[in-house]
């Protein structure tokens, strides 16, 4: 093999050191046939056999790919389960955040009925806090999904991925 990949890799290391980008700059060139590699393109991407196998935050398809390794399979299932919950949590949180703005309707009672104004404000704040909690839980699930996916990749690669065997399909 020429030295081009060597210097590409070396310079990519330099780029990674200096880098300030949310995207992977270096595509791996020398990989085992069924090895999973992690890349980042504003989200985590697991690549195998030259194609994306699963992407954050849902990581669909990861369990199928690593299923022959029990530890990897368990983490992949957790990643997919956590990922599935992210969308509904984020969407419901976003919707509730908008609904909570209805609390501003309390201004209609300004200088007329302070108790009613406080009640409407309070309900609005409560709804918005609920929305914020939902979104934060969703972010936690997103992180958890990514962590499980990385673990699944490592257990899989250690067992069969890096040797080039992969799961027989």
């Amino acid at each position: 093999m020429s030295r081009v990949p060597v210097w590409t890799a070396a310079l990519a290391l330099a780029g990674a050191t200096l880098g300030c980008n949310g995207q992977s700059l270096y595509p791996p060139r020398v990989v085992a046939r069924h090895e999973l590699v992690l890349r980042y393109d504003n989200r985590f991407e697991l690549w195998g056999e030259g194609r994306p196998v699963a992407t954050a935050y849902r990581f669909e398809g990861l369990t199928d790919y690593v299923g022959c390794v029990p530890a990897a399979r368990a983490h992949a299932q957790d990643a997919e389960a956590d990922g599935r919950a992210v969308g509904p949590l984020m969407v419901s949180g976003g919707v509730l955040a908008g609904v909570g703005l209805g609390g501003l309707g309390g201004l209609a009672f300004l200088n007329k009925n302070n108790a009613a104004m406080g009640a409407v404000f309070g309900v609005g704040i409560g709804v918005e806090l609920t929305a914020l909690v939902l979104v934060l839980v969703g972010r936690g699930n997103e992180l958890s999904a990514s962590g499980h996916a990385v673990d699944a990749m490592n257990y899989y690669n250690d067992a069969v991925g890096r040797s080039g065997q992969g799961c027989r399909r």
């Binding site: 890799a9 791996p28 504003n42 404000f121 704040i125 979104v135 890096r162």
Partner: protein
């Protein structure tokens, strides 16, 4: 204007909610994975993001080569899509699932596509005050109402910001994946300087 009774009774609850939110913000997954000392670089999960775990010791020649590259002073961008992939096969000493892998000792075969090219690039909100009020109270209640209005407007903005941003540090994640992928390529490519980096 006196403090609205509903708000007065909810204050402890609001504080509890804020405390709960702070706790939620710190939620993360802790990995129990322990990389085997086989000489491969790995991306591992650390609390809220990935981290590059490189083998501890590099041969001096390889370290020198990397050091020279890092002193280059230019940021190099490579094509995002791999123009060519060399399938790497580990050496005969590898025992899958617990054996000792030896990067650099493996063989390569089956070149797909052509080698990729490289190009180098240089690298306020304010509340109103005063005015009449129907309750006949002081400015404290009015201030509380203003604060609540501000909170009602700000909370959705905060929520949407959390919902639409990535939970992990994107730059750190990209840098960690680049480091690991580039290191493994260097170790596997059989370059004299780095081929023996596996312990």
């Amino acid at each position: 204007m006196p403090m609205p009774p509903v708000l007065d009774s909810c204050s402890p609850r609001l504080l509890a909610a804020v405390a709960a939110l702070s706790a939620l913000a710190g939620c993360s997954y802790t990995s129990a994975y322990i990389p085997p000392p086989d000489g491969h670089a790995r991306v591992v999960w650390r609390e809220t993001n990935v981290a590059a775990q490189l083998p501890r010791s590099l041969p001096p020649e390889c370290a020198d080569e990397l050091l020279v590259a890092m002193r280059g002073g230019e940021v190099v961008f490579v094509p995002r899509e791999p123009a060519g992939v060399w399938w790497w096969s580990p050496g005969p000493g590898v025992v899958p699932g617990g054996g000792r892998a030896t990067p650099g000792a493996g063989s390569r075969f089956s070149v797909h596509g052509s080698g990729g090219g490289v190009h180098v690039a240089g690298g306020g909100v304010h509340g109103s005050s005063g005015g009449g009020n129907g309750g006949g109270g002081g400015g404290g209640g009015q201030g509380a109402a203003v604060a609540l209005v501000i909170a009602l407007v700000a909370l959705p903005v905060l929520t949407l910001a959390f919902a639409t941003s990535r939970p992990e540090n994107e730059e750190a994640a990209a840098a960690a994946t680049d480091r690991v992928n580039a290191y493994n390529d260097l170790a596997r490519v059989g370059d004299p300087a780095c081929a023996g980096s596996a312990p």
